[in-house]
Every structure is written in structure tokens, then in C-alpha cells.
Amino acid sequence: MTLTLSHFSAALLFSVFASIVFGITQRNNTRDQIRYGLYCFAMFVGGVIVAGWVMWMLRR
């Protein structure tokens, strides 16, 4: 069974799972874990969008 994902959806799924693990392991209490997980997710997705725009500008 194979799966085909677009570049963006693959990056988005990656961000979700990595952020969950980072949130749980890098902070001590539940509130901080959720906040840090959301922060990591925002940074991942933001980084993807910024990198996408940078590549678009380089291509032009």
C-alpha cells in the first residue's frame, strides 16, 4: 500500500508529529507543553512558507 502526498501536505504532517514530540519532551507541565507544541508547529509551517517564497524568488 502506497501513499502519495504533495510537498506541502508532507511538510504539514511532519510538522504536526514533530511538534507533538517536541512539546511533550521539552517542557515540564501540560500548559507549557501545549504552548511549545503550538509554537513549534507555527515555526515549522512558517518556515515552510518562507522557504517556498524564497525558492519562488530564486527561480524568477
Binding site: M1, T2, L3, T4, L5, S6, H7, A10, L13, F14, V16, F17, A18, I20, V21, F22, I24, T25, N28, N29
Partner: protein, 142 residues
């Protein structure tokens, strides 16, 4: 003025003796490596354990479904060896993939490289999870 070496050594020795090796401090990382998230589950951190297990297992499965490459121990190339180090972090999942001969097919589409990265990162995240289980076991983290 800095502390004399003897005082510093005493402080380190006191700190080390304050964290004795317990059964759980050995068992939790070992079980956590073999089954992602299980190191937390055996310490009754149910939600954290299930979230870690779900995240790491799903990442590994998606990596396989994207037809990612599972690295072998004797890759030869330095990048293959690093890939192996990442993959082997997934513990039981890596052993299972080797036993079932998964992750050795020909790459047939452009995003398959994402699969390889998913597999490596799943293993690396499990290493972090194992370290976290150890910190819980020694009382460094609640």
C-alpha cells in the same frame, strides 16, 4: 575565586549519589526504545505515552507508505551510516521493517525521499522520547 577542585568533585559525587540507578531508570529507556512511547506508559504517563507512540509510529508508517528507504547497518557510505543511526532509533519498528523486508523497494515517485526523511526523523524523535522517559524515571522531570 573559583572553588577548589576537591569541592567541585564532592559536589558532583553528591549529585550522582542523589540519583541512584533504579530498575525503572534502566527499564524505561530500554522499553521506550523498543516500543515508542512505552517508556512513558510503564511510568503511568498515559496521555504523553500514547501521544508519543501515535506520533512516532504514524510517522514511521507514513514513511514506509511513501516508499521511503530503510538504511542497512553496513551501508558503507557515511550518509548511509547516519541514516542507519536515525532509522535504528525507532527500535522495534526498525527491527520489524528489517524482518519484513520493508523499505527496500525501488523509489517510483518524487516525494519518496520524504518517506526516507520521515523514517529517519521518527527514529530521532524516539531517541528524544527515550531521553525524556529516563528523565522521568530519575525524577528530573514530573
Amino acid at each position: 575565586m573559583a572553588n577548589p577542585p576537591t569541592t567541585k568533585n564532592e559536589a558532583i559525587a553528591t549529585k550522582a549519589s542523589a540519583q541512584p540507578i533504579t530498575v525503572m531508570s534502566v527499564l524505561a529507556p530500554a522499553v521506550g526504545w523498543l516500543i515508542p512511547g512505552a517508556g512513558h506508559l510503564i511510568q503511568k504517563r498515559w496521555i504523553r505515552g500514547l501521544l508519543l507512540m501515535g506520533s512516532i509510529v504514524i510517522m514511521f508508517v507514513i514513511g514506509l507508505m511513501l516508499e521511503g528507504h530503510v538504511y542497512q547497518p553496513n551501508g558503507g557510505d557515511i550518509l548511509d551510516m547516519l541514516g542507519f543511526v536515525g532509522d535504528v532509533g525507532a527500535g522495534g519498528l526498525y527491527i520489524l521493517s528489517q524482518a519484513m523486508n520493508w523499505g527496500h523497494g525501488a523509489i517510483s515517485h518524487a516525494t519518496a525521499d520524504y518517506g526516507t526523511k520521515y523514517l529517519i526523523v521518527a527514529g530521532l524523535l524516539n531517541f528524544i522520547s527515550v531521553a525524556d522517559a529516563y528523565h522521568i524515571a530519575i525524577g528530573k522531570k514530573p
